[in-house]
Each structure stands twice: as structure tokens, then as C-alpha cells.
Amino acid sequence: MVETDRNQIEKLIDGDLQWEELRNDVLPDPKDGQRFEVTREILLDRVDWDDPILVPLNDHLFAVGTDDGRIVKAECGHEFGPLEDNWKTECQVRVRESEDEMRDLYPEWMTPDPDWTFQLREFFCPECYTLLDVDAVPAGYPVLKPFDPDVDAFYEEWLGEPAPDATEVNQ
């Protein structure tokens, strides 16, 4: 294990790491040992709210601990409900299905055949309208929950410490 360079991880999160640094320092094995902890610290510093981040779910969504239990929360502060539920059910949704709707994104001949009723389901944050996910599925397909994190197993079993919300919620 090598030491985690906070500055480098900040650049990694921002997409500012140049290929040479990425290739030579970040991609190869062995990986740095404190990546999760350092990433979490950086993300905590960047949000305007105080709930402890338990695990990042994507660029703008986090599992966080609150007095009312674990929830999914967006960078902008919008709360998406309990962590055990699918956060997509709290989103604003736009569905593209017709050829016209697809043609905003792809040229003629490079869109789905409308007879096959494929959809792009765009899931937006109801507060800041950041695009959080896009599902490309046939019509009628259920909305899958992408990730159910096992927060306690991670902190207690893997890191050997209580989860950051343990003192506030579980104790």
C-alpha cells in the first residue's frame, strides 16, 4: 500500500488529473491505502450540509446518516428518502421514446427503431435538476435500484470501526 495523496485525489474527483499522472500514479497496483477515507473527507468538505456521508452513490448522491435514519441525499441538499428505498422513485422523470425525442441526442438512422418501444428514462434531481442517471430499457421494464450498500458490514467488519452515524443513530 502506498500513501494516499489528498491533492491527487481532489484532482481525480474533479477530472483534472492528466493522463500521465493517472497512468503512472493512480491506475497501477498497488493502490493507495486510504482512498475511501480521503475521498470521503474531501466530499464532506465540499457539501454545504452536515450529515455524515456514509458512502458516495454517484457524482451527486450520497448515503448519509441523519437523526431519522440513513437516507439518500444529493449534493444540493435534496433528500431522496430512506436508503433502503430506490432513490429513483423520488426523481423527476423524462422519458424519450419517439424518434423525434431520440433525434435530439442521435442522428437519423442511429436511434432505436420506434416499433421496438425502447426508452431513455432520464432521472433528474427535483431540486437542482442535475441529471442523475439514464436508464436505456424497453417500455415496461421495472426501475431497478442500482445499489444497496451494506454500510455496517463495511465499517464494522472491513474497517473495524463504527459507521460515522453510529453515535448519532445507533447508540
Binding site: 442522428p107 428514462r121 442535475t130 442517471d133 424497453p138 445499489f147 450498500p149
Partner: protein, 753 residues
């Protein structure tokens, strides 16, 4: 037919015959396999090994042995490929070699098409379980061959040559060499057939067959195989290539045993597998976040108007769900409950092929180094449901193009493990997917100047767009999931064997890359024409065509879809004579026709079945882009400007998707940004998001009503009904999700069809 000058004299053998048992310490191979499985079941460790004693006590010797073995395998691959004449093998390196324990567990492997590491394992285990040791006999100098997908192979045109390695009457290891054939016979030309719907149309099969002894291939096998394929010369040299490589590896193993002693080699081989297993577990705990990850891929099969056989003339869609669980012990589980049933198409995929796909995915995601072998396979619990398209357990089906199911499925797997990487902070390891390779050009013809058959099977499709990661754009035109050493091959090399199909162009295909904060890698397109040939038939098979197979990640979009385009009875000869322009692409789409007169056929399907082509006809083909990652409005504007200047996207698309507006000087490839218009356009896009969206509950209600009304496509209904039949659990999940009656089903007429 290729025949040696002199027939081998089988009376003069260089090997002494061995009598069973041929396993270690007086055991049969069957007993060794049973013991291995029992110990693994009881201890969850390979052969119950608690400590890697050799590695701990003699670390230098242990690592040296591994390096020697790996070096021998790589050296065999790099040397043997020159025996082959097929550019698929010579130029693209579609071969690999691997060494197995007597029980058929991979110890080490070469570079190349490493998807086959576990398929070879299954073939060896089949021979052990069928007691070849006593019945067929396994002797020093024997040569076995397998390409039976049901027993251990990815698809029919991959062919394994398997050689046992003996030491003083004991079988100490096996070596397996695999090459991808240009042609394997079957109902049409090509190496990934479209038209085949059952085994009986797939072509030549060897079912763990003994094809030689005393290091020589039987004459009857050689004749049978060469008469069964359309390209006997390539077959012959590929087989010699595999055999030569296997013998090189056998020599290297014998040399190692002479150096270190057989007992040390035996201990090493088992510890290496266990180390591989331990490595995967430790990596999972080091780089993933525990929990459950879900995704799904789809494989649309638009055969209603295309297929030849009546049973296949229907539009079908296959469901390929992937759930990955990382448990608190660091175990990894892959579950495909809800996968579609198999069907009358060539996309059926045997369990062994799916395991190969898992293996090649793991080696590229979490196992970049270390002891990469079957240990990593043992570390993952898998459920490829019995009787589904990913584990049909039915040798009568066609498995010719199993990649059609395998590749979309692993897109879902990759997204799941990418979420696990992201959660743990390893954003650089995220890969949002890849363009599935398909086969944009296949077929063959007779070249008049040489009066000889030429196959058409270029492996340019090993250069697709890779999906974006969470820190950078996807790799442009340089990736194939099944062979991490991508190479599209030189045009001149392909023209050397595909005599009658010269190239008119290769170029970047704009607007193929999936949109996102980080865009997918771009795809590309090419055009070929037919020249000086007769009896030419060509076909195309590229996915996705009529619908998406996968999504992007975190707000990124999937890559654009492919289509098919060709022109018959053209005026190409006149254009060449007059030095008039001819098509070098179809970008913008529709421009192809502006530079050629003829019978132009376009289809939104990325495929057409074999069609006759005449001299001067044109075939357009394309390779897809990768999926995108993140909200496109977060993509830095200067990168969008670069995208336009480099031909990745066109101005109309970047205005629609990224809100970037400006003037593009195409001649000088300079895009001048209009900052005010860009600000306005981006604000408009944000406003549209607020105005054009609705609540999830409204969305759910409308979709539910559509389902009740049956207002979705027939292939979608076909998919759901097939899955309902296949999996009660998934059917219950579907009905509960949409709040439908417990007995809900689509119309009975469709079900009967």
C-alpha cells in the same frame, strides 16, 4: 487438403504406454477431481490449502516458477502464431495458451483471448468425468480437440487443442491452445453466423475428441476437419499452430520439473491456484464496497423479416439481468435470475462461455496482476439459471454467436463493479461499459485472378469505443472486451487474404460516442467494395441496432445505434475512371447516396443476412462508440469544442445535448465558440428539464396503464413472457413492481407463438 509427405509411422512411438491410474500417487484423475471438489466444498480453499507453504518458505523459487511458466506460455503464443496463416491469429493474436492441473484447473495463461481459460478447464473435466483415462485412454503424446460449446467453449469457431503432460507415468498437467477460426463450416460463410438456429447448422464440432497420438494428428481427423470447413489451408495451419504451442509449453513444463523436481512442481501448481483465489478475495475487500448491485442488458433480435428458417422468423428480445453481491466476507456473487430462455437463434450461450466472460471481465477490472488463474473463478459464486439463454444445457441448440448474449450481459456486470469501485473511491477504475463488437463484415467469395475462395472475416471489430470512466473519456476506437490486446489490423493485411474486397475508407464515425460529462470512446466506419470476384456473399451483424443493449452511468447516455447500408449495381467503375468522388463514409447519415448511383439499401437494423454482391457493389460498416458517464451539461465546454474539431460530434448534436453553440470551419477544423449563444442554449436545456419532466409517480402510473393495455412492442412482450415462464421469482418481482395482478400476463396469442 494438406497432407504430410509421409504418413506417420505409429509403430515407432517415442512414448511408453502408461496404464491407469495416471493421477498422482496411484490415484485416477477421477479420484483426484473428486478429492479436489470435496476439499474445496469443505474448506472453501483450493485443495483445502491453509497456507501457501512453498510461497512462504521459498518465495524466490515460487515466483520464479510462476514467471517461467507464464513466460513459456507467452513465448509459445508469440512463436506459434507465426505458424498460422490466418490474419485473425497472426495479426490480431486471436489465440492463447494455458496450463492446467491434472483436475483441469488453470494455473497460468498467456496473453490473448483469455476468455478461454475456464472453457478449456471444463473440457478437461468432461474428459475426466467421462473416464477417458480407462475408456478412451489418455497417453503421453496424445492430442485432444474440443469446440463443443456445451462442454467448454465460447462459440463454435473457437477450437481447442489439448495435450496431457506426463512425468514418469503420472499426468502432471495439461496444456490447452485455442485459436479462433476464419471458418468452421456450417450453413453460411463466416465465423459468427446469423442464420444458424441449431447445432446441426453450426458446422464442424469436435467433442473432446482424441485427434492424434505420438504427437501426430490422425489422418482421418485431418481429412474430416479440412473437408468440413471452407478454408482448409487456414484450418490446417491453425491446428499446427495450436499443437506447436502446446508442445513448446510441454517442453517448458518438463524442463521445470527437471529443474525443481516433480514434487515441488506439484505443490507449486496447487498453491498458485489457491493464491489466485485468495488474491481475488483480498482485492474485493480492498477495492469494492459491500452490498448488492443491479443492472440489466438487452439483446434485441430483429429476425422477423430477416431470418431464413421459419422458426426464427420473429422479432425477439432477450433479457440479461445481472445482480452482483459483495458479501461481508469479501465474497463475490453473480446472479442472472430472470435471464430469458434460449431461442431459435445463434445467440445461445453455454454456462462455460458465461464463466469465460466473467473471467475475462475480472482480469480487466479487479485482477490486473497477481496469479491470474482459475483461483479467481473459484472465488465467485455464480447463478446462470439452468435452462436459460446463459445456461441452456442443451447441445442441440446453436451456439455459433454466443457473444450476442455474453457481451451485453457483461456490460451490466461491468457497471455493477464500477459502482463498487466508485463507492470505495477508486473512480479511475470505473468503466461505464463498452461497444459490443458484433461482426460488421462477414462472408466470402471467389477471386477470379487466383480462382480461389477467400473468406471475409476481418477482426477490425476488436477496435470499438470503450465506455467512459468516472474521471476521463472512454478510449476511442481501441477496445474489445474479449481480448484486452485490441488491434484493428492493417488494411493491407486484411486485403492480403480478403482479395476481392478492397477498402475504400476507414474514418471516425461522428456521434457514435455516448454523451456525458465524460463521453464514451468514439466508433468508426468504413466502406469496402467488391472487385474481380464472383460468387460473393456478405452479411452484417452489429448490435445494438434496433434498440439499446445497455445504458451509460450516473447521467451518461448509451452509445448511438448502428444501422446497415449497402449499394448494389453502382456506378463506381465510372467514378473511378473519371476520378469522380465516391463514398468514404456516411457522415452525416444520408450522405452516402450523394456520391454513388445504384440500388442503395438502408435499414435501421444493424444486420442483414447473407446477400449476393457483384463487382462494384459497396458495403458500409461501422463500429460503435462507448457509453457515457455523468451529466452532459457538466462536460467542460472546451472539451466539447475539441470534440467537434476532432470529428467526435457534429455541431447540431453538441447544441442539442451539451448546449454548446458556435461556427465550425470544416476545412480548417476550427470551431469558434459563441459564448452568449452557448449560455442561452444551456439555460434553455435546464428549463426544458424542469418543463418536460413529471413526477416518478405519474411516470409509474402511465407505464402501468400501458402494460395493462398491452401497449408495448411485441418483442418486449415476447421477452417478458419468456422470462415469466423461466423465473417465477422475476415474474413476481415484475408484477409487484408495477402493481399488477398476480396472474398478469400479456395476450395469450403471443404466448402461444
Amino acid at each position: 487438403m494438406s497432407k504430410p509427405d509421409q504418413q506417420p509411422d505409429f509403430e515407432e512411438t517415442q512414448y511408453e504406454r502408461v496404464d491407469p491410474p495416471i493421477g498422482w500417487d496411484g490415484q485416477t484423475l477421477h479420484e483426484m477431481l473428486a478429492e479436489s471438489e470435496r476439499l474445496r466444498e469443505e474448506t472453501e480453499r483450493y485443495y483445502g490449502i491453509e497456507d501457501l507453504e512453498l510461497k512462504e518458505e521459498q518465495p524466490f523459487e515460487y515466483e520464479q516458477m510462476y514467471s517461467q511458466l507464464r513466460g513459456a506460455l507467452v513465448s509459445a503464443r508469440e512463436t506459434a502464431l507465426h505458424v498460422s496463416a490466418s490474419p485473425i491469429v497472426r495479426e490480431i493474436g486471436e489465440l492463447c495458451f494455458q496450463v492446467y492441473t491434472p483436475e483441469g484447473d488453470c494455473i497460468a495463461l498467456s496473453t490473448g483471448i483469455i476468455v478461454h481459460v475456464h472453457t478449456g478447464s471444463l473440457a478437461i473435466k468432461y474428459m475426466i468425468e467421462q473416464d477417458y483415462e480407462h475408456d478412451r485412454s489418455i497417453q503421453p503424446g496424445d492430442i485432444f480437440c474440443n469446440n463443443d460449446n456445451d462442454l467448454g467453449n465460447v462459440h463454435t469457431t473457437d477450437v481447442h487443442t489439448i495435450v496431457p503432460i506426463f512425468h514418469e507415468g503420472e499426468l502432471v498437467a495439461w496444456v490447452d491452445g485455442v485459436t479462433h477460426q476464419v471458418d468452421i463450416g456450417g450453413m453460411t460463410r463466416g465465423h459468427d453466423q446469423l442464420a444458424s438456429t441449431t447445432r446441426y447448422e453450426d458446422g464442424l464440432y469436435a467433442t473432446c475428441e482424441k485427434i492424434g497420438e505420438n504427437d501426430k494428428i490422425y489422418q482421418d481427423w485431418r481429412d474430416r476437419a479440412q473437408r468440413a470447413v471452407r478454408t482448409p489451408m487456414y484450418w490446417d495451419l491453425d491446428e499446427k499452430c495450436r499443437l506447436a504451442g502446446c508442445h513448446m509449453v510441454r517442453d517448458a513444463v518438463e524442463s521445470m520439473i527437471n529443474d525443481v523436481g516433480v514434487d515441488t512442481f506439484k505443490q507449486f501448481s496447487r498453491e498458485a491456484v489457491e493464491e489466485g483465489r485468495q488474491t481475488l478475495h483480498s482485492r474485493v475487500k480492498e477495492r469494492f464496497f459491500p452490498g448488492t448491485y443491479r443492472d440489466a442488458s438487452f439483446m434485441p433480435v430483429p429476425f422477423e423479416d430477416e431470418a431464413w428458417k421459419p422458426s426464427a422468423k420473429q422479432d425477439m428480445m432477450n433479457h440479461l439481468p445481472v445482480e452482483v453481491t459483495v458479501d461481508e466476507e469479501g465474497g463475490l456473487e453473480l446472479d442472472m435470475e430472470g435471464a430469458s430462455p434460449p431461442g431459435p437463434h445463434p445467440y445461445n450461450c453455454a454456462e462455460g462461455a458465461m464463466e469465460g466472460g466473467l473471467w475475462v471481465s475480472l482480469t480487466q477490472s479487479i485482477l490486473h496482476d497477481g496469479k491470474v488463474n482459475d483461483g479467481s473463478y473459484f472465488a465467485v459464486d455464480t447463478n446462470y439459471p439452468d435452462g436459460s439463454i446463459v445456461n441452456p444445457d442443451d447441445p442441440s441448440l446453436s451456439y455459433h454467436t454466443s457473444w450476442g448474449s455474453l457481451m451485453p450481459a457483461y456490460n451490466a456486470f461491468w457497471k455493477n463493479v464500477s459502482r463498487a469501485f466508485f463507492a470505495r473511491g477508486f473512480r479511475e477504475e470505473v468503466v461505464s461499459g463498452y461497444s459490443e463488437t458484433g461482426d460488421p463484415v462477414q462472408g466470402g467469395g471467389r477471386y477470379e485472378p487466383m480462382d480461389d475462395y477467400f473468406p471475409v472475416a476481418p477482426f477490425e471489430h476488436s477496435c470499438q469505443g470503450l465506455g467512459a470512466s468516472a474521471v476521463r473519456d472512454g478510449l476511442d476506437y481501441g477496445y474489445a472486451m474479449w481480448n484486452p490486446e485490441s488491434d484493428m489490423g492493417d488494411v493491407e493485411e486484411w486485403e492480403l487474404i480478403e482479395w476481392g474486397l478492397p477498402y475504400l475508407s476507414r474514418q471516425v464515425k461522428p456521434n457514435t460516442a455516448g454523451h456525458g460529462k465524460y463521453r464514451g470512446g468514439t466508433g468508426w466506419e468504413g466502406i469496402r467494395t467488391v472487385s474481380d470476384s464472383e460468387d460473393v456473399s456478405l452479411y452484417k451483424h452489429v448490435v445494438p441496432g434496433v434498440g439499446f443493449t445497455t445504458s451509460g452511468m450516473a447521467g451518461g447516455y448509451p452509445n448511438s445505434l448502428n444501422y446497415s447500408l449497402r449499394a448494389h449495381d453502382t456506378d463506381l467503375d465510372e467514378r473511378l475512371e473519371n476520378e469522380d468522388p465516391y463514398p468514404i463514409g456516411d457522415s452525416p447519415t444520408g450522405s452516402f447516396e450523394e456520391q454513388i448511383e445504384g440500388d442503395v439499401k438502408r435499414s435501421q437494423k444493424g444486420m442483414f443476412f447473407p446477400e449476393e454482391f457483384e463487382n462494384g457493389d459497396l458495403l458500409h460498416y461501422q463500429m460503435g462508440g462507448g457509453t457515457g458517464y455523468g451529466d452532459p451539461l457538466e462536460r467542460p465546454i472546451d472539451l466539447v469544442v475539441e470534440d467537434v474539431e476532432e470529428g467526435i460530434y457534429t455541431t447540431d448534436i453538441v447544441e442539442q445535448v451539451y448546449g454548446v453553440v458556435g461556427e465550425f470551419d470544416e476545412d480548417n477544423r476550427e470551431f469558434t465558440l459563441d459564448e452568449e449563444a452557448t449560455d442561452r442554449r444551456r439555460e434553455e436545456l435546464r428549463t426544458e428539464r424542469r418543463e418536460e419532466t413529471r413526477s416518478y409517480d405519474e411516470f409509474h402510473e402511465e407505464e402501468r396503464e400501458r402494460l395493462e393495455d398491452g401497449d408495448i412492442s411485441d418483442p418486449s412482450k415476447w421477452m417478458y413472457e419468456g422470462v415469466f415462464d423461466q423465473s417465477d421469482d422475476w415474474a413476481a418481482f415484475f408484477r409487484e413492481f408495477w402493481d399488477l395482478d398476480e396472474t398478469f400476463e400479456f395476450d395469450a396469442e403471443l404466448m402461444e407463438a
